[in-house]
């Protein structure tokens, strides 16, 4: 079941196009990476999903229903630029955001208690944001995003500004939320976190979608047909073009298949010595990203 289905979405600011015919389909319960260089249109797309701005044309369906204000309560949003009222107390602030998302006064209280407990910042509830460390404030911000238990959570660069300890904490929270069946849209430049977390990705460049699908499928699609080989052999009799590096009589190198199958290559390699490693090299998201963005920008 799709939690979000986007069809033919267009948006322009005056003469400049922000989104061109965007189609996306986001399955429920996955972590969906939204990738793209700065200014590609990611924030615009996120703002439209959040109903902050309206699209010029196209439609969005939330669980099969045309997106409307009543869905606000089921969507959580952590903007890239974090913001809290500096002079407001942690408790009041969280209650306020929870109430704005449609929780009743008693529900809001209960949830705020729960999350302050969970992230271990209960003792800070009467402090003003001013008096908190940055990490603490980030936690408060994170709570404000998920306090209403949204079914869809949109995180814009969730790791920016976090130290490694807190980034790890947030990563674990994200995985835990996924376990609970919550769908997450992750907009980020950090390809390593995409590799680590995302099940699906979509790439946007210059207002257009250039790629989307399951992460593993995309990697399959763009695999370079290259294998990393580790070979133990007695002396230096490998062909020059393999450019092997040697360490303790173990040669490491990459071969590219040209037409043949992996098994045929493997058979061929065996003639040179003992194959101790043979694995397909998958493209990193980093490579793919740069390659695809460049291709679409130049094409």
């Amino acid at each position: 079941m799709e939690i979000l289905s986007i069809q033919n979405l267009n948006k322009s600011y005056g003469p400049s196009k922000a989104l061109t015919d965007i189609d996306l389909s986001i399955p429920e319960g996955v972590i969906y990476g939204l990738l793209g260089p700065n200014g590609a249109g990611k924030t615009t797309l996120i703002r439209i999903i959040n109903q902050i701005i309206d699209a010029d044309s196209g439609s969005i369906f939330f669980k099969g229903e045309q997106l409307n204000p009543k869905h606000i309560a089921q969507i959580g949003y952590l903007p890239e630029e974090r913001g809290l009222y500096k002079k407001m107390k942690v408790w009041d602030q969280l209650i306020y955001f929870a109430r704005l998302k449609g929780l009743s006064a008693s529900e809001a209280k209960e949830k705020v208690h729960f999350w302050l407990d969970k992230l271990d910042i209960k003792n800070w509830k009467d402090k003003r944001i001013d008096d908190l460390s940055k990490g603490m404030a980030q936690k408060v911000q994170f709570i404000s995003t998920i306090i209403h238990e949204p079914r869809l959570l949109i995180l814009d660069e969730p790791f920016s500004g976090f130290d490694p300890v807190n980034a790890d904490l947030i990563k674990n929270e994200i995985l835990e939320l996924k376990q609970k069946g919550i769908t997450l849209i992750l907009s980020t430049h950090r390809m390593e976190s995409v590799e680590l977390l995302c099940d699906y990705v979509a790439m946007i460049n210059q207002s257009k979608k250039i790629l989307d699908g399951k992460l593993t499928a995309i990697k399959q699609q763009f695999r370079p047909n290259e294998y990393e080989v580790q070979l133990r052999c007695e002396d230096n009799r490998l062909p020059e073009q393999w450019q092997a590096t040697w360490d303790n009589q173990i040669a490491t190198f990459t071969i590219k298949l040209n037409g043949g199958t992996a098994n045929e290559s493997l058979a061929h390699l065996m003639q040179f010595g003992e194959v101790i490693g043979f694995s397909e090299r998958m493209p990193s998201m980093e490579e793919l990203f740069i390659q695809q963005v460049n291709a679409s920008s130049n094409g």
């Binding site: 005056g14 109903q51 902050i52 913001g83 500096k86 407001m88 009041d92 955001f97 109430r99």
Partner: protein, 436 residues
């Protein structure tokens, strides 16, 4: 609607709970009564502690008699001026008044010797006593009985009465109306600026800290803007009401402590004790003012005031919100302040130059009808009594103006709060207003 209420509540409570609000609200109204009380206290203390001051009078004409008062007593003797001076020098007398033989048509040479500089009041008192005596004497010499003359002295007092088309007569007094129009007009002017600025800074805070992104993903920008404007307006109204209650109760207590009921009464008593004369001729005037105050329909005036107070605030508040949304920092806001400042200044100047002096002139009429100036200008007319249709027209236009300004501001606000780092000018604003 629920969400607007949440915003209003937050805006209201986050301000009202601040210590600075509490201090400003409690201390401001204390300032005036405290100053007034301090002056009265010093004055009364002085009056109490001062021993009776005795003044030696040597009158070579043998015709002057000055009445003694609580503070001053006059003793008469026939010595020469040196003896009088000695009395002052030795400290036996507070002062010495020397009246040489004088020509009644051109009295000169009268001298007062004192060990310190005498007060203006005291010298005036002496002068008027002597003057009165000289006048009486001269009238007598020209064969006019001063008694007869004073019987002929007539005081003319014109009483202005407003007659409306239903035939109801209302006493009016330009001074009272002027003072009321003056204060209420200025109050609205200050209120718009002070609380308008709070709106603007609130919007800038939310925009620059990006809270607004989270907020507008939960509610409509328009709801957010209106919630802020209404919430801050409620803060202002609260502060104003507390001031009114505090000022009137503190003044009451202070006045009560000093045994006075009203400032006018105090003034009358002072005049009485010092001059001890023609006070009776002034009574009708004060009674007249009191009657005018009684005849002013305070409920109607208060309602009019609250209407223009809120109407003006809402109209301009929307503009302040729009400016806050268009800029990234308060320092950039200056360039857009002109369209707000100019009409407010016109209204303010107009209040003094035209409306208060002639509430029924054409200029006054238009100033009190056009929504941008009417909140301030109409208060200048309100206490004089305004024809029903003028008021109705002005009020409806203010409502229309407020709706229009909120609509325009809403368009600017909606886009402005999401735009960062771009230089915004009037052309951009116009584009935002036109955009769908």
């Amino acid at each position: 609607m629920d969400k607007i209420w949440l915003v209003i509540k937050r805006e209201y409570l986050s301000r009202v709970q601040k210590k600075s609000f509490l201090l400003a609200t409690l201390l401001t109204p204390l300032i005036f009564p405290i100053i007034m009380g301090a002056f009265l206290w010093i004055a009364m203390d002085e009056a109490d502690s001062a021993a009776l001051r005795i003044i030696e009078v040597i009158d070579e004409n043998n015709m002057f008699f000055i009445e003694s008062s609580e503070q001053y007593a006059f003793s008469y003797s026939n010595g020469d001026s040196e003896e009088g001076k000695d009395l002052v020098k030795s400290g036996e007398r507070f002062g010495f008044l020397y009246i040489p033989k004088i020509d009644l048509s051109n009295p000169s040479g009268i001298v007062f010797y004192g060990d310190s500089n005498p007060s203006m009041n005291f010298i005036n008192y002496l002068e008027s006593s002597l003057k009165r005596r000289i006048e009486e004497q001269r009238l007598f010499e020209s064969g006019i009985d001063p008694e007869v003359l004073s019987a002929y002295r007539t005081k003319v007092n014109i009483r202005a009465i407003t007659l409306d088309n239903s035939g109801t007569e209302t006493f009016s007094d330009a001074t009272v109306n002027y003072v009321i129009g003056f204060f209420t007009g200025i109050l609205i002017y200050i209120f718009i600026f002070v609380y308008g600025n709070q709106i603007m800074h609130g919007v800038i805070e939310e925009k620059s800290s990006r809270i607004v992104e989270i907020l507008v993903s939960s509610l409509k920008p328009f709801q957010l803007m209106m919630g802020k404007i209404i919430g801050i307006g409620a803060v202002g109204l609260t502060q104003f009401l507390i001031w009114m209650i505090l000022i009137s109760s503190i003044s009451f207590v202070v006045m009560g402590y000093f045994g006075m009921q009203m400032p006018q009464q105090q003034a009358m008593e002072m005049a009485n004790s010092q001059m001890g004369s023609s006070i009776s001729t002034e009574t009708p005037e004060i009674a007249g003012i009191l009657q005018v105050i009684q005849e002013i329909n305070f409920i109607k005036l208060a309602l009019t005031f609250i209407f223009y107070f809120l109407g003006g605030y809402l109209l301009y508040g929307a503009f302040f919100a729009a400016i806050g949304a268009a800029v990234d920092a308060p320092s950039e806001a200056q360039q857009f302040m002109l369209p707000i400042t100019i009409p407010l200044l016109i209204a303010y100047m107009g209040l003094f130059v035209f409306v208060l002096n002639d509430p029924n002139s054409n200029v006054s009429f238009w100033l009190s009808i056009v929504p941008l100036t009417s909140p301030i200008a109409m208060m200048g007319r309100a206490s004089y009594g305004i024809p029903f249709w003028d008021l109705a027209l002005s009020m409806s236009l203010l409502i229309v103006g407020f709706l229009f300004s909120t609509w325009v501001a809403g368009k600017i606000y909606r886009i402005g709060i999401l735009v960062h780092g771009t230089k915004v000018n009037y052309k951009t604003l116009w584009k935002w207003i036109k955009s769908e």
